[in-house]
């Protein structure tokens, strides 16, 4: 008995540790009889994250894996049970051990949307993060934001019908848009796709249509969120997700925070000037200097110029990846294009890493996903001396990075709505 009391004593005072003075702790406890609300909510969202990753065999295991103090953990668990978000498993089941905690995913659902220049993709997931269905449609020729919202609704309805999701259980929607996006106010400020949107209050439009909170974010920043959650940059606090497709942009995390900038234009690195980019000034509506050379179209035109110069004729259209493959196959002309692209990309990566002391770059997008380009760029970077040598990784989520990012934001928003996250 004595031993038990002793143990409990350690649990309350010793191990908890933050406040060593027994008197002070017990006074605070008597006054409030529970930890601060903020801490509980914080603990709850951490526990929820951990439960989405894996199952736990005991409560203790769950607690230590989240690094939570017992006090906070218990309060968080109570809160989540009260909100109906988590249920305890069978305590003493025979046979193989059962997970001790389960997220009641069916408590609510979220939708993640990726609005692209050509495709519209929608996924629906439950609160446990399990994806229940996907839908994709075309945005070619669609310029009206109201039409896009209508398409999203169509997709949502289809998924809901197939997966048997009740229409009223939608807790949050998150959407990524290809352009300068003000996520605080839910407005797409500017995009050159979709027939050129300007100041479209997409967030409010989605909220009105779906009667649920909506989050809007730039698609590349969503890519960074996705890679940090489930991709190549898990739990990293400093990294940049570099999307190289037709255009180039970066989603940058610095010190665990996503960089946005007061005008929401942080990471528009397609307009960077580095050695080798064209000199003439940029006109509005035209691609930036960097993307005009190593964006998808830029590489194609490099190739056309190179073939014209060396063999007097322009070869048939090749995609960037095909050109890079030819380079490894020994094609001199393709080799030239690859080397030039790698050199310029290395300059751009180096500059971002110098400014922010960013140690990791995740390469995504149609051109960026090429392993050949990555290897060539790495070997150029190896020649630069610098405080930190940036590491390059290919995106492991590929085109799904944005969707996962949107899903993550939708889940966060849903947690806020339920009252778990601040």
């Amino acid at each position: 008995m004595r031993f038990g009391r002793f143990r409990r004593g350690i649990g309350q005072f010793g191990k908890q540790g933050e406040i060593s003075d027994r008197g002070e702790r017990s006074m605070a406890a008597a006054r409030k009889n529970r930890p601060a609300e903020r801490e509980v909510r914080n603990a709850a969202s951490r526990l929820l994250d951990a439960l989405r990753e894996r199952d736990f065999k005991s409560l203790g295991e769950a607690r230590t894996s989240c690094g939570l103090r017992k006090w906070d953990f218990d309060a968080a668990l109570r809160l989540m049970q009260k909100k109906g978000l988590v249920e305890k498993g069978p305590m003493k089941a025979k046979g193989p051990l059962q997970p001790c905690l389960r997220i009641r995913g069916e408590r609510g659902h979220v939708a993640a949307v990726d609005i692209g220049g050509t495709n519209l993709r929608v996924i629906v997931a439950d609160l446990a993060g399990t994806i229940l269905g996907k839908w994709s449609g075309s945005t070619v020729g669609v310029a009206d934001p109201a039409k896009i919202v209508q398409l999203i609704e169509e997709g949502l309805r289809k998924i809901s019908r197939q997966a048997g999701v009740p229409a009223n259980s939608l807790q949050a929607v998150a959407a990524g848009a290809p352009g300068v996006t003000d996520s605080r106010n839910g407005v797409v400020l500017l995009t050159s796709y979709l027939g050129g949107w300007r100041d479209v209050p997409l967030g409010r439009m989605l909220e009105d249509r779906f009667a649920a909170p909506a989050v809007i974010e730039n698609d590349v920043r969503l890519g960074a969120v996705g890679e940090r959650w489930k991709g190549s940059a898990r739990k990293m606090n400093d990294f940049a997700f570099l999307a190289i497709g037709t255009g180039i942009a970066a989603g940058i995390y610095a010190n665990g925070e996503l960089l946005r900038g007061p005008e929401c234009a942080a990471g528009e690195v397609g307009y960077l000037v580095v050695p080798g980019t064209p000199e003439e000034g940029v006109r509005e509506g035209m691609p930036g200097p960097l993307e005009s050379v190593i964006g998808g179209e830029g590489i194609k035109s490099q190739w056309q110029k190179e073939t014209q110069r060396l063999s007097g004729e322009a070869l048939h259209d090749l995609s960037a990846t095909e050109i890079f493959e030819r380079a490894t196959g020994g094609d001199e002309r393709a080799r030239g294009v690859l080397e030039r692209s790698a050199r310029i990309l290395a300059h751009a990566i180096y500059n971002i890493s110098v400014v922010l002391n960013c140690p990791l770059f995740i390469l995504g997008g149609g051109v960026g996903m090429s392993a050949i380009l990555k290897d060539a760029t790495e070997s150029v970077l190896a020649d630069y001396s610098q405080p930190v040598r940036p590491q390059l990784r290919l995106s492991s989520l590929g085109p799904d990075a944005q969707l996962f990012g949107a899903l993550r934001l939708a889940l966060d928003e849903a947690e806020k709505r339920i009252g778990l996250r601040l």
Binding site: P262, A266, L272, V273, P275, T277, N351, V388
Partner: protein, 316 residues
Amino acid sequence: MVAAELGPDGVVLLAADLEGHEMGRAKATFAWGASSPRSICELMGREVRVLLKKLKKPQERLVRVVVSVPAIVDMDAGVVVSLSKLKDWRDVPLREMLAEELKCPVEVENDTNLAAQGEFSLGAARAEKNFVFITIGEGVGAGIFVDGKVCRGARWSAGEIGYLHVPSVSRESPRIRGYGRLEKMLGGPGILQSWRAAGMGPHGRVKVKRAVDVCDLAAAGNSRARKILGQKAKILADVVLDLSLILNPGMILFGGEVGSHPVLMKEVKKLLAGSEFGVSSIKLGELGTEAALWGGIATGLESGIAGLLHTARVAV
């Protein structure tokens, strides 16, 4: 409260009270060859004690000392990673060494970050939480504020823009290779070098000792100086453009001995007026060369007062 600025050849001290009002200053240069970490610590200890005596304050009243160093600083450990201008300065645990010497809490921070902090607390960036402070003096560096906090990067070296690769540098000096090429061209010594390399102009001999003199000459209309500054402004414009695109700051401030000269800023603004994309407002820092000292005081006040309150609460 004392802020100290460690330069390549001396220390400057600034004492302030807890309301941030200046109480006194002191300046000391290193004796020849006495620039090892140990002797500099002793020198600073001595100077701080002399300054306190002059102010008729007992040493126990010293709440905090903030030291600015022109180097990359590991803020967790309080270690100066490397200081190229002084010998024997590699991985120096300056915070602990000074705390022992002065018997009071010490903070060590990069000079540019402190200068940015100074402009944020007392200078031109008071209303702006996202800005970049670019300093051009002997070297070139940037202090980056994101949401009201200094951005230091994964290995404490964020803002070392002297190493950037920009087109106007590689075009003009394909010969200088590698490390800090931009810094070598844009910094004070680089400007002087260009001046000398430009040779004898039609204006004959003009006495030029410092990079600022070249700026003054340019302002007065000297064509040779104007040409040089035009080149430097082109480099700086590229830097500003790249910083704006990566960070999208609300404001860019110029500081440092050369950077705070209005001529350079005017040229850069002229160049950037052409490419309208993403460049925010450019201004001069308000604190001039004292930004780092005042930034030190501001930092010290914040953490020092928090510390005092804490001890007071424990005592109650």
